[in-house]
Symmetry: C2
Subunit: 341 residues, 2 copies
């Protein structure tokens, strides 16, 4: 029996996305070296600041997607390293700006750039990181990379703007929610898979399939993240319970809760989202548990994961396919861990 | 006598940079049409916001530099229009972010984007404008445009960051001041002239000369702008007197004033810059008039303009040269107007 015929076993799949990245061995050190090299291109006065942002030990999900969608064998492809660095720099730039807007003082266990350097410098630092990412993207012989990354970035910003403008409003449909997470999260996942497979020289049909896989995985990942905002223990994911509720952000778990509650109680939840009432995250989590909201949201998430898997079905023979498919199991493992908590 | 031998007469040069741009006739409408077209590429939910930023009736100095450095005849070159739109979009993005950082509520006589949409959305809107500029830059067949614009943008941000970090400090040399304005202002002037002449097909020696011209003109322009912060009447330039002093920004006029004042009074000025004392802009302007600071700063500005002119000297026969040289006279006219006020 050919080993590529068997689906990736749940037990062997890495437990989370951090482990996926660290399991990539030589790709990890190549990416780190490439990111470090970039710091040297910044003006001397701001190098330490750029270094501080890059040093943030993140999950590196997008670089993992680049490497895995462009997987042929263990060899490190310098084009993939460079595009992974480009996309990670764009992502880091958006984090710097997100932390300003959320007034977040902590990012992964240490001061956010906004807190370290002040919001003014952080706005500009995010801009400089983003500009440098595009400069690096322009080092490819084709303009395709620059064009794709710039367009994706605009979409990410558009998604974040729409979400920002909708804060405190409750007239949001499932489609509205889906559109925002498609733009703000799934777009960079999608472009990571598209450019990874393209630069590895895979045929167009696989590039398209990988892009669809990335997009669907990205939507599922954001649903997981929204679920974790309520069901993730603070110590484990480094977030405060129910920050989305507190900031008036209507996510799928809250939508499902509002639908499941009796009318009077629903009005109270709506008041908490619009800011007319103080948010009671603990109570809402308790109600979510009682009303089986986790399972409902998980169902929506599972549907996205199945679409991701379906996209790769015609490409079972491709070296990249089993490695990408393993990621859906990683996400299932992370969701399962939330359920236990 | 060949008319190209005579320097541009002060009386025939446009009075300011706005008139330079409006005098470009068909280029003006082509640029406007191109910028309008870009709005359509934004996600429907943010189109009105993008349109609001683009609509800002600015001086369009950078597009003028693109068109004039790439001048061959009256014909509109679509490549120049596109690169002018790219650079103007980058500039507009930096204005959106500047207004957030300065807490500026008014931009050219109407609400700033930060005030209209809130600072959170404005951070993202600036990002989206910038991302779209780079996407448009990637439409050229060569990656050179994308690369040059992205690198310039990173330099502009670096200049602004250095300036932000230095606010309220007085240990700044003339060289430090020059470096900041070189990055934050002269860089986009430089790249406008470089790309304009390059895309018009001019030889490398002229492209380099035009780039140097742009850079020196940009430095001179920023010195003029810093002079206008004190000597420009509020009604005329739409700025409050001495905002730089109020925000702890040490500019050349203030450096010259501090050097010219007796020691005791110098300490008071330093205290106003570091924020230990309330700023007295009116008094400082009065002292600047008494101590001949205008003439000293004008001398520094004139030196930059001469370097700009010298760069073009070997290219007197080029169609673009007299048109670029006319801009130094425009700036002299604007400085002369400040002196009169």
């Amino acid at each position: 029996m050919n080993s590529s015929d068997s689906p990736p076993a749940a037990s062997t799949a890495p437990i989370d996305f951090e482990s996926v990245f660290t399991s990539l061995g030589p790709h990890v050190s190549a990416l780190d070296a490439c990111l470090r090299e970039q710091v040297a291109s910044f003006e001397p006065e701001i190098r330490a600041m750029a270094d501080y942002c890059i040093d943030t030990s993140g999950k590196r999900i997008r670089p993992s997607l680049v490497f895995l969608s462009g997987w042929r064998d263990d060899a490190v492809n310098p084009d993939l390293v460079r595009v992974a660095a480009v996309i990670e720099l764009v992502h880091l730039a958006t984090l710097v700006h997100d932390d300003i807007m959320d007034g977040a003082e902590i990012r992964r266990g240490r001061d956010s750039a906004a807190r370290s350097y002040g919001p003014e410098a952080a706005v500009l630092l995010g801009d400089a990181l983003f500009a440098h990412a595009l400069h690096l993207a322009a080092q490819f012989p084709t303009t395709l990379v620059c064009s794709a990354v710039a367009e994706s970035t605009r979409k990410v910003c558009a998604g974040e703007i729409i979400q920002t403008l909708r804060r405190g409003t409750t007239e949001i449909s499932r489609e509205d929610y889906q559109r925002v997470i498609d733009l703000k999260t799934a777009e960079l996942f999608r472009v990571s898979c598209q450019l990874g497979s393209y630069l590895a020289g895979y045929p167009e049909s696989f590039v398209d399939a990988a892009a669809t896989f990335g997009r669907q995985l990205g939507i599922a990942y954001q649903i997981f993240d929204d679920l974790a905002d309520f069901f993730g223990q603070e110590s484990k994911i480094g977030k405060t319970l129910g920050t989305d509720l507190g900031s008036g952000k209507l996510t799928l778990p809250l939508m499902e809760l509002a639908d499941a509650l009796p009318p009077a109680e629903r009005i109270t939840v709506i008041g908490e989202i619009t800011g007319e009432r103080s948010p009671h995250a603990e109570l809402r989590l308790k109600q979510m548990r009682e009303l089986g909201i986790f399972a409902r949201v998980d169902q929506a998430l599972e549907q996205e994961l199945r679409l991701a898997e379906a996209a790769l079905k015609p490409h079972a023979g491709c070296a990249a396919t089993p490695r990408l498919l393993a990621l859906t199991q990683v996400l299932r493992n992370q969701v399962a861990k939330l359920r236990v908590d």
